[in-house]
Symmetry: C2
Subunit: 353 residues, 2 copies
DNA sequence: CTGAAAGCGCTTACAG
DNA sequence: CTGAAAGCGCTTACAG
């Protein structure tokens, strides 16, 4: 046997029929080797395997699926491929699916193309459709209704509160409670909300959590919190945090602690506070959200909330496979993941005045 | 007509035959509507369209592809789904492909599973395979040889120097030349290399570029540059940059300018220098690579090199579609993208001693 | 417009 | 082991 048999042009071999002719065996026999069926001579198996390696022939998966072989494909709709936490969820899920032999069809489900994307997944006969992120409510609810009607399993990761949807999402209320208790223990009683207050549902449940946590300690939400989100054009980045914090410093009695929608805003706020001459955490505490690598790159390092993405996605794959293995249930599956407070240097005791 | 016709269970309708029966038309007629063929009464078209919407029926793409319809799928192999620049390339490419009607099969091509991944793509009869990132050389070269033998178009984005491979990659030599000229103009003559010096090919061509740029200005590489990479365990993060810069400050005559492998290392180095009491850029200049959002979140903001990902990916899609539209050429296509120096606050005139 | 037929590439009994 | 056949879900002539 030559050390490295040269790759012969396999362009002519397009089907098992061609391939069987090339090896000099019956189509049936080749098919049996391909599917590892018993009752074949080792010599035949070897002959086919070698020809397979030499020609690089691969059976057409579309024909297999037509014959009823499962596609082992999962469709994944992303709201955005540029948000690091969403991409981390995707990467983690993709790996877990692959381990179980599933491959992923990934598309961005942007407003207006949702129908087309899901249609494409269905035409490929994916075994389940997963949504990661936040979507246009009516559009995704329509897609989910369609999937349920067809009997195709689905799962929504993050976007909470969709009608009839199987959902796994972060319990942001729990996260905010952890944050606020941490700060209350340090003596803080006034909280500046950075990008947290406005309408989208992901923000809404944070406010709920905050309100409940304050109430549990006998404090009133409206008396303790302040938001200036309306003063600047809403964004989710460093500059927005910088602008917000700057505006807070112009207030007669600025809060002593700041809770940001995400790490970027928190880092922008820290910078603004430091530029105004404040020492952190001596003069103010700041908390982010998401626990991104940048939290370790600031000085002081940023206290933040970790999404526990591994837990989320482990749970997600459970829910997906449970649906694949069992008949659909009447009630949607709803799971909440508890986030984890990560205490670092940007939070400390309130300054005694 | 009811305002919103309820979705009827479409579970029973699995084929155009079923569907045709449901609408009360011939399979042929349904097929013609589905494929927008001429010569049909508007009334028939409407009837089919409505039934399509009501039942949510979608023709089986696998059967279409069996019949010879192009799959319009591109396989994309990623080295890693957690590196932001690679993911940005993926996101950009995916969008461009989608605009042209192509969908993407995305898999992580990790060492050892490369064969399996490409095999899967080929079994799905993708029209081209794209690799984004850096791979195990022999493994990817074997895959590319197989693709060429089959006549399946391919493209490698980033990994330069692979045998027979169509490649688009960043001309890092040009980038380093821009950096070094910028610093030479500020009077710097000693350069600390942070993670740039060691073996992987992506680093190698940086050194080449540096060497050439220095030589063009009559300077000697070995006399001007210093590396301490060997002192610490190689990583690509903030801490590694911090460690390297700290070690540099222990040297008898530390360099006045630092060139980092990436932004994270640069930011770590800046922090270490600042913690040692240096003011930047007065006492030292630092340059990153990749132009990530974090570059704007530091103080001073980080001078860096932008990969021009939009250009890279626009070029990539050109190369892919060129291969799809034309017969394969004998010579591999090689394109280089010129990166762009982004000057910010972390670089300045060398300090007069 | 309808209907019957062929064929894409596979697998799976079934008879030799 | 081989060979002929049926059928998965589609499209595309072809004859009515």
């Amino acid at each position: 046997m030559p050390k490295k048999s040269p790759l012969r042009p396999a362009s002519q071999i397009r089907s098992t029929a061609d391939f069987a002719r090339h090896v000099g065996l019956a189509r049936t026999t080749v098919s049996r080797v391909l599917n590892r069926q018993p009752g074949l001579k080792q010599k035949t198996i070897d002959r086919v395997q070698q020809a397979l390696a030499e020609t690089g022939f691969t059976p057409n998966a579309h024909a297999l699926h037509l014959k009823g072989k499962r596609t082992a494909m999962i469709g994944i709709c992303m709201d955005d491929l540029l948000m690091p936490p969403a991409v981390r969820k995707l990467a983690t899920l993709q790996r877990l699916l692959r381990v179980r032999g599933f491959s992923s069809l990934i598309e961005v489900f942007s407003p207006g193309v949702g129908r087309e994307v899901v249609q494409h997944f269905l035409s490929m006969r994916v075994e389940a459709v997963v949504f990661i992120g936040y979507f246009h409510r009516e559009e995704i609810e329509a897609r989910i209704a369609g999937l349920i009607a067809r009997g195709t399993p689905h799962l929504v990761i993050d976007h909470f509160g969709l009608k009839h949807a199987n959902t796994i999402s972060l319990d942001r209320a729990v996260g905010m409670a952890a944050v606020v208790n941490h700060l209350l223990d340090f003596g803080h009683r006034t909280f500046g909300l950075l990008g947290v207050a406005q309408s989208p549902s992901s923000r809404f449940d944070r406010v709920t959590g905050l309100r409940a946590a304050l109430q549990a300690r006998g404090l009133d939400f409206d008396a303790c919190t302040l938001t200036l989100d309306h003063l600047h054009e809403r964004r989710n980045d460093f500059d927005y945090g910088h602008q917000l914090a700057t505006s807070f410093l112009l207030q007669p009695r600025p809060p002593t602690a700041f809770l940001a929608l995400n790490d970027e805003i928190a880092i922008g706020a820290m910078r603004a506070l430091q530029e105004a001459g404040l020492k952190l955490p001596r003069d103010a505490s700041v908390v982010g959200f998401n626990n991104q690598p940048a939290c370790l790159m600031t000085s002081p390092t940023l206290t933040t909330v970790d999404q526990c993405i591994d837990d989320t996605i482990a749970s997600a794959s459970e829910v997906i496979f449970a649906q694949l293995d069992h008949p659909p249930r009447a009630k949607p599956i709803i799971r909440m993941i508890a986030p984890q407070l990560v205490v670092r240097e940007s939070t400390g005791p309130v300054r005694r005045t």
